[in-house]
Symmetry: D2
Subunit: 352 residues, 4 copies
Amino acid sequence: MMIIMKANSTPQQVEHVIEHVKAAGLSVHLSQGIEQTIIGAIGETHNIPADRFEGLDGVEIVQRITQPFKLASRQFHPENSIFPLDGFNIGGEEIAVIAGPCSVESRSQIVETAVAVKEAGASALRGGVFKPRTSPYAFQGLGEEGLEYLAEARAQTGLPIVAEIMSQTQLDLMVKYVDVLQVGARNMQNFNLLRAIGETQTPVLLKRGLSATIEELLMSAEYILAGGNRQVMLCERGIRTFETSTRNTTDINAIPVLKNLTHLPVILDPSHSTGHVDYVAAVARAAIAAGADGLIVEVHPDPAHAVSDGKQSLRPERFAEMVKQVGQIAQVMGRRLVSVRGEYQPLKQGWA
Amino acid sequence: MMIIMKANSTPQQVEHVIEHVKAAGLSVHLSQGIEQTIIGAIGETHNIPADRFEGLDGVEIVQRITQPFKLASRQFHPENSIFPLDGFNIGGEEIAVIAGPCSVESRSQIVETAVAVKEAGASALRGGVFKPRTSPYAFQGLGEEGLEYLAEARAQTGLPIVAEIMSQTQLDLMVKYVDVLQVGARNMQNFNLLRAIGETQTPVLLKRGLSATIEELLMSAEYILAGGNRQVMLCERGIRTFETSTRNTTDINAIPVLKNLTHLPVILDPSHSTGHVDYVAAVARAAIAAGADGLIVEVHPDPAHAVSDGKQSLRPERFAEMVKQVGQIAQVMGRRLVSVRGEYQPLKQGWA
Amino acid sequence: MMIIMKANSTPQQVEHVIEHVKAAGLSVHLSQGIEQTIIGAIGETHNIPADRFEGLDGVEIVQRITQPFKLASRQFHPENSIFPLDGFNIGGEEIAVIAGPCSVESRSQIVETAVAVKEAGASALRGGVFKPRTSPYAFQGLGEEGLEYLAEARAQTGLPIVAEIMSQTQLDLMVKYVDVLQVGARNMQNFNLLRAIGETQTPVLLKRGLSATIEELLMSAEYILAGGNRQVMLCERGIRTFETSTRNTTDINAIPVLKNLTHLPVILDPSHSTGHVDYVAAVARAAIAAGADGLIVEVHPDPAHAVSDGKQSLRPERFAEMVKQVGQIAQVMGRRLVSVRGEYQPLKQGWA
Amino acid sequence: MMIIMKANSTPQQVEHVIEHVKAAGLSVHLSQGIEQTIIGAIGETHNIPADRFEGLDGVEIVQRITQPFKLASRQFHPENSIFPLDGFNIGGEEIAVIAGPCSVESRSQIVETAVAVKEAGASALRGGVFKPRTSPYAFQGLGEEGLEYLAEARAQTGLPIVAEIMSQTQLDLMVKYVDVLQVGARNMQNFNLLRAIGETQTPVLLKRGLSATIEELLMSAEYILAGGNRQVMLCERGIRTFETSTRNTTDINAIPVLKNLTHLPVILDPSHSTGHVDYVAAVARAAIAAGADGLIVEVHPDPAHAVSDGKQSLRPERFAEMVKQVGQIAQVMGRRLVSVRGEYQPLKQGWA
């Protein structure tokens, strides 16, 4: 960390800052130029917030050199993190496609969807049982009943289950049923929840907050990793911007940036990041081409009757088409889908 | 709610949408023009999410006419909500100034600050004991020990206490100690927490999320109101934009917009909305001039030694100056500070 | 256009709005429900701004149904616009890769780069001679001298030339030298410039503004099309958001959205949309996978000595690698690069 | 400027950067710590773009210490810039209120408005004759005819005239008629226009771009100042964010930030920054309370018949009310309106 003093800072102020740096357990490298004095703070700076020094008299700017996260960092762990999930690996050569409805609505709905997405090439099943709804009057999910239906769908198809947890009070219940705990965008900085999840050994799918920076996403992953749970995958799901023609703006840059900064697997959710069925396949292909390790996609057997997110939920046939396209992009990338090992054949122009 | 059908929608699709509207308990007003068909959905639409109809075949746009919130709405409750808080009222003629440190750090720090801010004209004391920190390695707050120190500060000064709650597991403890439960920006859509707080009768200060719309803020208030707790004040604390010269962008428009849409009291946090001591007073004055009912401001007796937010914490003397300025703006607005009833005298030019 | 009246609007207000609609040359479809009155305004609404009715007494919302652009619209012109550019076509099966330095710096620099990018598979050469620099003290471009060097590079390589125009006063000069007029992000709403360009027959590359919506981009294209120049290609180059880990945020959603809304060719600029050489190839691949018709990329023979944008300029070798990758994605999409018709062979995992 | 080298940079890379710094006319202060090497670049750095060094091998970050603008900087010119405008001063103790319609529509409309706003306390008249409209089909302004009407309004009222210039080709004409050249948000980075205006001696009102940072606004002012025209006032007019309940988001922080960074007068446009008549007065009061030197407000005698911006244009009576409120805030700030020197009397609660 470098603390740049104001041009008119006094020797006393410099001395005072140096004391603070030492008090924080760091050592000091002082550089006094003609125009400015710079105090280098050296040591384990990733656990020192910059605002510890920003309020000191005479300080102009505090510039962090090293990243504020460690366990999540590729510097700390250069190789990709690969972890197993019921018969396949996340983060390695294989590309995972998680699919299913926004909400679990009934036994038949989730079982039917599970069978359909498996057939189409999905490697895991998603389905919400606790739903973070903007309105207190909207459907809030089936709760434990929904988890039982998910378990049944898994029993019939063999697909591992991904479901969202909204509160640490649901943790015991969720861990009993699900293969992957999803932390939603609105809870990305629910630090109590992150800490509780860090104490389990259940794999986690951590979604980026609507307006969270990439660094903040990695800091939230750090909470879980620091607790001892090393099986975290990150999920770009679109950020909030001024553009209104799509529900969110897919930050496709986040894929190569994250692959550069961290060893954790990175997946993309084109359903939420676009909000419209007509754009899901195009953005799913883009994600894999950009280097993502997987996708999570909303699929519903009858979107018109979905209790939520009908506008962005693919019908199984359309999902199957998307999987086929994504599989070909994966092949170009030297990778392959978990469960689709079809032949390569160039498709005709005009994929929407 | 108006459902506008695509130009090329079929009579079957129109019929299908009408069935859905009726199934949602709404009645239908059909308008078939030459170019487009519009289906008006009439009734208690505030509890029907628009996405219930957006995924139906043939639907172009779903346009909500009435607001998706009800209890928070000024249409439902035209008069300002005024609720008492230990000797004064929030939301009425009086303007509240809540002040104190970001974090409670020690008994002496919080008592000393309480005495100083009371002297300077504060009407309540803030201080965090559970801290939502981006980094797992940063100071996370004193917990219950901090609550005891806050209680002591209240005992000595008579100032009511405002502190942030981060999880519903802290609710019993918090309710025992604090006068106002603060819900932070990162938890504005922690719906489990909102629902739990809605079941108490403790007043709530609900902060707007970093990228939450004004409508979403009101929907989150609706969660608490719907639970039965009617004492909710809303807090603008800056939103996240592209501008980097301040920590956040104060959305000053939110003040008149909220006063127009809702009967709930509206306050502003110029410390977080600017992130810099040099801009706090100017934005505090602006808030009151725009019609805000109060302020919440970070004050620390020794910002250089604050464990967090030192850069944006006012020293007590500077806070006293701010209160004086704000009091004069309040007078022009036909209002007055809770505890400062000084004389009016025009100040000299050049308030920073 | 639908004009939704307030619940408490008076018959006089409704009558008054109807008069205004008729005065605008539109006909009226009146729908009076129990809760609300809706006035449908029917006819050539694309040339009536919504704010013409928004200020009228009693009006709640004006909702546009049809798009405010016409010539740019795919409804108006369902087939892709394909236009020739010195030996190849933009907007058809072939994918164009425009490459070259940010600024033309010298004869040798631009000729050397032109030879290198042609060899690597570029289909056109870019190079700025009038530079929109944030600072008045920065290098502003070589002007006409630069155009002469560009012409020389074209003579040696056969590559068509793309260069940015900043003002209508440069139009005569530019048209004499360049094959494609580039309108930069900062000039996307320089309507005088757009109108002047609309009167030429030189193809145009229109970049999206930093915070322009997709609809605004299409409205700016409409200015040029309405003037009679139908050869407009659109360019996504990243939008401004809160994320700071990249220079801009690539709005990859814009690709399928634009391909859906308009018949005009759509290309992407991964150099500006990421701002960093390490992310250019990943985002270039994503663009083609999402359905883009081409790319424009900054390449410099010696980025360390570039007068501008060195951080985001690829060296020719790295550009060649990118072209190879992009070519394979194109093949999967059933398309091909203009000048690279190599064999398909899956690459090994790990494209950065 | 400080160039921070990567941890693993080589001595050759450091040497290479140093050569570049010297070649840019700067001197070097080298600081080699254990963990990192920092190269301080000292001298006239405001005219060296950071990207000159960012692309060099081994460079991690380039951190600017001094501002990239000079003439606009308060460091360079500590006293407020005050310049005369037909009988009053901008930037001093007096507060200017510029008012008038979005567009000049007819002789009677502009003369009538001028008389009304003067009566209500305006100090200058605004009115557009060249209109930057998103749609090529919308009303584009009366051109020179409009300027003649403006001149007539000035002759009748004595109010100086503010009108927008869209292109340097309009400069000779505009300078002949107007007292203040307005540069609109969409042209804030039309550098050719800025340079042309810099060569005149006509005062300028420079509006901030929709997504321009405060630093970029100051860089655009620097273009005009560097040309020799020192009479530039800056105008905050709202920025583009995710919030849709208002047309733009008023960045009220920009007022104290600009007053801190620059000596130039700063005004605010609450009409565009809110987009709605109901919010104009509240934000106008906030602006003056935050330290702004003036306001520019849209007023129309008959907003329902305005050709543009009817929704945000105040009727003269409502404008008069706003001026009265603003005048009282000004008094508290130790300032006064140019032409309204009424008595102070606290108003009753409830200004909307």
